[in-house]
Symmetry: D3
């Protein structure tokens, strides 16, 4: 018995500026049942320390995904030839209580993962990765992590709180969700409270590649190294849009200058192909600081590139 | 047998910044079958003479409709207690050929009207009202018209063309779609090519109320008069957002100063309650010229007010 | 012994685009000690249901207050001839825990009020008025309230939570902070979940003046009536910028169309002169939705008008 | 011998978004020779005290004038049937020395006036009206003045300087350019340094109508009164866009809340028809604060309305 | 007999923010007669598939060209010392009928080419290159092509239509306008409907250099190669601004991430010096998506660089 | 006796969106007395030739500095462990007379330098560097100069004026403020009036590194060379934000395409560590052209990096 695979609504069927407000104009689904991969959103920004707005990220990313066509001209990936994919909507987080939202997210992802669908998440602030990693570890055991970000997000607390967008990887570490010698943080930079900030991860065995190490060159070799080190372990990809230099991605809340280029971001995500990716997220897009919508365009494309890199998607060339 | 009426997704179920990208976060439907009223979009701007952008109007209006709750605090109308309503998506117009698009629209509305659902249209440029009126007349015979606009849109041609956003009511008149003594144009103003522009309609028996006649006062008395004159005739409401002064609705393409206020706009639409409304549209919202999204907020609310004014919606007070 | 009264830094001393980032370029002070009135900010938006951004309100209002000169040309008030005024900075709220922030605010205002200074607050989302009213009632007993807003903000809960920007006046009422027959809500409008929303206040004896009752006319007579009813009672003025129509104040998060004009807003605040004002706030300014900064200009001017209306400020004409 | 009158390029000849960048897409002219009226720009903002940007005003006003058609639908005026009009470009002011710019402007207008053309000026900051009035008085003797503005612009000095955008009418008065009992200032408001600011003009016999006197009503009766008082005297109209409330005209530098509406602005300018208008200006449009371009649209229309009100333009109805 | 060469209006004669709205503030001309090169605009966007706005491109490019001075500091080119250049205005396309517009453009360029002037076109959507190439081939026979773009624009149809901004090079190929082994497409990337999209050109013998091949390096060597291959053939340069990464050129309609840098764009255009350039265009600038105007600044500079690369312009160093 | 060093207000004490409007939320100081280094602003733009707005630069840079933490994660510098630093406010320049402003600035910096504090200046247009260099030379004798800019700013005059933002280094040279063989101009590019523009400096012995020489590579080697050449001489660093490509720094007035990257900018400033820096400025940030605020974020970070590079700040790694 063959199944019919969902396809994004094409531009010859409906103008790109029309059609459903789903990711890539894919069919909406009620749950992850029957899916190989799914897009879902977390419209949250109450874990944010500086500029807000990421609560509108999922809506804007979906909107600006409308022009993406099904075939990846660079890698040859044709994900909709191989995977059943749908947009399963948003997680109904509690906008007035961050700690409760964390529980809602964890619960929601346990449900998604019960269907064996790979979740690709449209954030939302980075707090959300903690409960996702918790659900990941519950299913897969500890996971390898590729974390692309301007910030290490390993604070013990912010303003005395354990739950905030600067703490998710510290929390995930505390709960044993990570394979410490297979954690890679790429793009870290900026100012901090002390030297310890990036070194904390290093003490746990993590690899922290500061942005300055990435300047003026391709990251394709770095990704080859990372693939080598991760091997077959299940791996989660958490992509914070603020890893990019603000020239490329102005629409975010905690801007750090001197970041990665979009080209490097593409090299990173494309460089995960061949790994055992079990999930991914794209976080910290803040539409009120994105007057042209182009930060959301990047986010939408990066999520499509994640889909193209999933296990089971072969490449035509 | 009772049917369950669709309800907009509530803010206690899903944060306002999440949820589906449909009008008022209502359920989507494939067609108008089984509906009393429906929202649908026409993502078109190729009939526009000055600033473009209305092709993105339906997406933006839906997005900014996310905060509208089901009950009208001013009029007491609770449309979702009475009517089956859904969002039936967009008309797949041809972005490269305006004349073909007109045919596609006419055809699409004939299909919608075959289900006896009242269509409320998210525009799109004003060209679209011509094919809608053609479908209306095919079903109802000639209709009364309340046309709120800065422009009369009764040009014979623009740049030699019969089909453009300045001509729809001339075309509808030519085809006999209108009951000429029941046509009301409200808000006309600005500059023109000659005195004849507004007088052409008057010669056909239409009532043309220029914006200057509306300044500094309530339009509730005017609407009482209009209701009196229209009586039981089927009536179509075409609301061009540029009828409003650009202070209120900056996000549009052919701006004329000295227009109506939003308060007057609400009085007009609320003043259609009691009439035999057979359809309505809200056109000319151009998101690229609406940096705060607030023009789309007005459009979304005006469409909700149209829904509240439909036959069959009783008012609690 | 005479004291020297603080004066805003003048435009002939320092260009308007320079000078300190305080309210009206007044001196900063560490506390309210020795002050008759003070400006202070609450950089919070985590009680917000739709668009965020009010956490940046205090910074933006202060920035855009830079052009206000010390004398009120309309009312003749010269507040800096009579009152010792300073900017005492911001309340260090907890951005990651709304409930804790409410306690921090309440505590902070008890301290301010211990100095007998009248606080004029730069918001921040409307949640903040609850803890302020609690501090007010602790000092003055229940107070009269003039609440200008598009929303009644009397929800029992939002998303199941008791603390959110739609609930402050319900909470204040529960705690007995208000003199129920001296509560006036002006500008209410929009859509709701049911008819009860505005009637709940009415059942407590409050006066709820819906926006539609205000259209097309001066509110000076209304304010005369309200002054008559309030008499000598201590009165708190809570001004939500979304009471204004979005044409006037686009930069806010929960936009409702058909609101008050800035002219009416000025009539309301000027109309409180002569009352026993014990505090005031200006809330819900969201700079990311205010591309020209003009919503913050209104907010700054309205706060200056509140200062001009305080007891002890005589009017020259 | 008949002359051919210049006509704005029509929309059926060239799309509105194309065509020359002149005012109303009129022909450009090298000088005012042979013209009855002319548009000219002064790209200056170095007399500004707060937000800059008016140096770009003339370019933006011309750009946004592109949609204005030749006939005035409200008044019936058809200026291009009666007057020879062209755009004579910009005054080459010295951007680095305000005092020299004043001399350049005065000289330039003496040249324009030598041709008996009526100049309609696209500003530019308000400093420019002083040298224009000097040239006016040199030709016509003292003139009557209708000055629409949020500010009286009668400061003796700003930051110790005699030349700045807050001083032009004081300078013009000192030089005897004005007929003091025929000076009308409309729309004054906001804060000031002292009560004297508006009273200074009153002491010279000027009529100062504060904005509050204009709220909630038509200004047509006021203009009838003003016409009566001015009689046949030569009259200059200086229109500062900040006279309008910032809801209507956000794009300006020294914003004051509670201003006139665009409708009232139209009533004022239309109300000058029948007077002996010898010149007019529209100043203080700051494009960087006008993200939609609509403030420039107002400015362009107001300049067109000035043209329609000039002597020699009859009205068809 | 010597002729006087037109010069751009200098900044010491007129402030940069004033002066005519022509390209580089050059003199306007009625036609191409007597010119060596000319700038002209095509204010069209009705061939666009996603975001509109390019109809305003020519106006905005001209506006933002105001700061370009006559000498190229990088290449030493002084084009106005060698060529007679003017701005000959816009092509009066039909905004309501794309197919008719194509004919109007073809006709217009035949007229321009009859004067032996080299046209440099300010777009406008990319549809316009087809009729230009048709006129080019009519004059020169098939031409070599350097096409810089994110998209190959070789679709057979879009939405069933042969004329749209994704098809011009397919049409030009069909009509034999191109020398197939001298066609170079640079910067192609993004998603597509199938692998064939870029391979179609390759099958015709075209060189398609995908963006990924360009990352992290200078394109000067590539251009040397291309010059070698083109030799003395007449060559047309079509520069789509969306070839640039959206970080550099946000103001365009069909955004693809991971593009060229402006530096590479300069290398490409400067690298055409020495070729037999017979024309060039700069297309797809969409001002509504260019809030700072900087995309238009790039476009203006790139057009100036094309002028500097024309035959007959020697380089001082 | 130990002194307590000022610290920026931390994010765990006050949310980043609150706190004082000073640079990095440092304490304000009345003067430079007792300070090792100080930040101060010059809110001026009247020396600007094209887009204005830099008068708002200091306010915006301070605002967007709010997220910078005290430790430099890239260089290990901890400036607040070593230096007493404060924000000493703005220079009260005369907005209506550029020449007087130059005198005010020179006087102001003589006073600052009398306290042996190193001034780091928030501009303001580039005219300001002339009077600063004059004060520098008065204290230190001629200084070495690292000047990062798109323009050489060595015009003799602009519009006939000696004082303008294109002339400061010519003036400083005339007055003997510079050590000519230790002047480095980096990033020069764009168009000019003649070949001489960059060569003038070269004739004085200056090193002019054009932007094209910097493309596609690290500037760390260049800075090593420059440090070598400067040796122990006192050196002033003048950083014009328009040295950066507009992709990185859109918010400036005289945009030139093809500039430096932010990464290169960081390399330059970090590369000055070890030199005898006696002062620095960051000029030409124009907030009205910076809709996201990110240009000001860069400026704030670059000023922090200058602080980190000052003598006396050791680096932990």
């Amino acid at each position: 018995m063959t199944r019919t695979l969902n396809q994004p609504l094409g531009g010859d069927t409906m103008p790109r500026t029309g059609g459903p407000g789903t990711m890539m104009r894919l069919p909406a689904a009620e749950s992850a049942a029957g899916l190989d991969a799914c897009f879902l959103g977390i419209p949250m920004d109450i874990g944010t320390s500086n500029r807000p707005g990421t609560r509108l990220g999922p809506r804007q990313i979906r909107d600006e995904s409308r022009m993406i066509r099904p075939y990846n001209m660079a890698t040859g990936a044709a994900p909709f030839d191989h995977l059943q994919v749908a947009d399963i909507g948003d997680v109904p987080i509690n906008l007035y209580d961050l700690k409760k939202s964390v529980e809602i997210i964890a619960q929601h992802y346990r449900e998604v993962l019960s269907h064996d669908a790979i979740p690709l998440t449209l954030g939302g602030d980075h707090t959300l990765t903690w409960p996702i990693l918790r659900a990941m570890a519950a299913k897969h055991g500890p996971v390898a992590l590729i974390h692309v970000d301007a910030h290490s997000d390993t604070n013990d607390t912010m303003f005395g709180e354990k739950v905030a967008h600067g703490c998710p990887f510290r929390r995930a570490w505390e709960e044993g969700c990570l394979i410490n010698d297979k954690v890679f943080q790429i793009g870290l930079r900026g100012s901090g409270y002390s030297r310890e900030e990036f070194d904390w991860g290093r003490k746990q065995g993590w690899s922290c590649i500061q942005a300055e190490e990435c300047w003026h060159k391709s990251l394709t070799p770095l990704m080859a190294e990372i693939r080598e080190k991760i091997g077959n372990a299940p791996v989660y990809l958490s992509y914070d849009i603020d890893s990019l230099d603000p020239a490329f991605a102005p629409g975010t809340g905690t801007v750090e200058v001197g970041g990665l280029t979009t080209m490097q971001g593409l090299e990173i995500i494309r460089g995960t192909a061949g790994l055992n990716l079990v999930g991914g997220d794209l976080v910290e897009v803040s539409p009120p600081y994105d007057p042209t919508g182009n930060t959301a365009v990047i986010a939408a494309n990066f999520l499509f590139e994640m889909l193209c890199a999933l296990p089971g998607v072969s490449r035509l060339r």
